[in-house]
Amino acid sequence: MKHLLKADKIKLKRSSLPIIILLVPFLILAYELVNLTYRGDFVEKQAEMFQADSMWTYLLYDNSLLFGLGFPLAATLAASIIANVEHQANGWKQTLSLPISRVRVYLSKFSWLFISLFFSTTIFMLGMFLLGNMLGFEGRTPWKYLIGDSYSMLVVILPIMSVQFWLSMTVKNQAFSILIGAVSSMMGLFLAAAQTTRWFPLAYPSQASTVILQYEGLGYNQDLSAYLVISFCLGIILLVLGSIQFAKREVK
């Protein structure tokens, strides 16, 4: 497996994967920077209205919707880039006629998808920390919430990762998987708006923040642990099903 991971690493050299990894955190952080400086007065009033205990809490709440829309898109594109390396190279017939099990080939590439997205959320977390300090947010840095916000997303996105990855690996035309990914991340926003449909896994990314708006103002997200458990189990199941299907496919 170690050899496989190394081989897949070299195949990703000079690809546009790093851009995708950086794009979503940078765009959101840039938006927040503008939001917190040019609209500073308005934002402070709103934070008061929402009874935010500090600007950190407000920031965590405010970016959750954008992150919830943007991160599934990043996962879609990253999965597509990783799979497309092989499609574009005409590489399946070569890679799959080497002495390695197909399930491993699948899991190795999935590992790189996970690692890329791990970097993406880590950059997002560090970016929030820098932004807060740069703008002189009061109070101690709430590391627990910053970590929670970033890495919950990584877990909550697992089912979407598994499905998008499988689509990109098995359907050569990447326009197809990217369309599905784009539509489903937007659907997630709408599903999250209603009381019942918000339990649908597509809706989790936009609700995966540690801080949400409740009747009494901003507070801790009570449902997060349920989202995490459901997403983790579902994601693993979908990944296993995808890898089994991939191993049985005929290579054209």
Partner: protein, 303 residues
């Protein structure tokens, strides 16, 4: 010791209703260069994909190195190098990095990359991105990655596609050397002349069926020369010769006989002339391999 490298038993592949490969019994022995010949769409690539476990046969068995491909796929692939159809190349990587990716996967010593680059003469362009390579260079890169693991069995599907004449010759010389180190080679092509110049064994496939499988010498034997005789009256000559117990054929305005020995030819000539028939041509005709190929495959299959 059994020296059979590949044995297939009634190998069949159906795609929906189309039978692409129909009951092929292939047999390749150690040290052979097996030329797998057939017109476009005859089922060569489908057969090779089945041999590599890329697709599953509808029916039949494959044994490679005396092991069942179905059960021991990974052990078998460990000893195979392959190049299937259009070459694989990761355009965002250099030639060397392309081989490095395969090298890492197979866990082969690093110096081997050097060696294979040297063998296919890509050392000079090894540090250029492969998307800038010409088709011939990509093809050679594919051959290099097939050779990387020093396999016991090399499977090359149309390896000379897209190469220029000197490139074709190079690859041919390269393939011819391989059995010296105990390697067996399966090479497919739709060009008979190519197979003729390197193979020791030939299998000809047409419409999914194996129509000939034997040594190349046997195939050449089929091109035994025949005698073409131009006479004024074909029917008459035919019956005269028949009376003498010599069988002949009247076809395309000429009389055709099986033998070409000088004594035989002059005897025929004398017999016919003495019977009052004028003979205006006596010619020895050798069938080209192309003729034999077309004869075997039938013209509908080719193009």
């Amino acid at each position: 010791m059994n020296d059979q490298i590949i044995v297939t038993d009634n190998l069949t592949k159906k795609f929906k209703k189309n039978i692409s490969v129909d009951g092929i019994n292939m047999s390749i022995e150690r040290g052979q260069i097996y030329g797998f010949l057939g017109p476009n769409g005859a089922g060569k690539t489908t057969t090779i994909r089945m041999l590599l476990g890329l697709i599953k046969p509808t029916k039949g068995n494959i044994k490679i190195f005396n092991q069942n491909l179905n059960k021991n796929r990974i052990q078998i692939l460990q000893r195979i190098g392959s190049l299937v159809e259009s070459p694989t190349y990761y355009g965002n990587l250099t030639g060397r990095e392309n081989l490095e990716a395969v090298r890492r996967l197979r866990n082969i010593p690093e110096k081997r990359v050097h060696e294979v680059l040297e063998i296919v003469r890509l050392t000079k362009v090894a540090n250029r991105l492969t998307k800038e390579y010409s088709l011939g260079m990509k093809q050679r890169l594919g051959i290099a990655s097939a050779l990387l693991s020093e396999p016991d069995l090399l499977i090359l599907d149309e390896p000379t596609n897209g190469l220029d004449p000197s490139g074709i010759q190079e690859i041919r010389e390269l393939i011819k050397q391989l059995p010296e180190s105990g390697m067996s080679v399966l090479v497919s092509s739709h060009l008979l002349s190519e197979i003729d110049q390197m193979a020791t064994e030939v299998g000809i496939i047409n419409n999914g069926k194996m129509i000939f499988q034997d040594s190349i010498d046997r195939l050449r034997h089929k091109r035994k020369p025949i005698l073409k005789v131009g006479v004024s009256d074909g029917r008459e000559s035919h019956s005269i010769l028949k009376g003498k117990g010599i069988s002949s054929q009247w076809k395309n305005d000429y009389l055709w006989l099986e033998e070409t020995k000088p004594e035989f030819v002059s005897e025929i000539n004398a017999t016919l002339v003495q019977s009052g028939i004028s003979v205006y041509r006596l010619e020895e005709v050798t069938k080209s391999l192309e003729d034999i190929f077309l004869e075997l495959t039938g013209t509908e299959g080719s193009l």
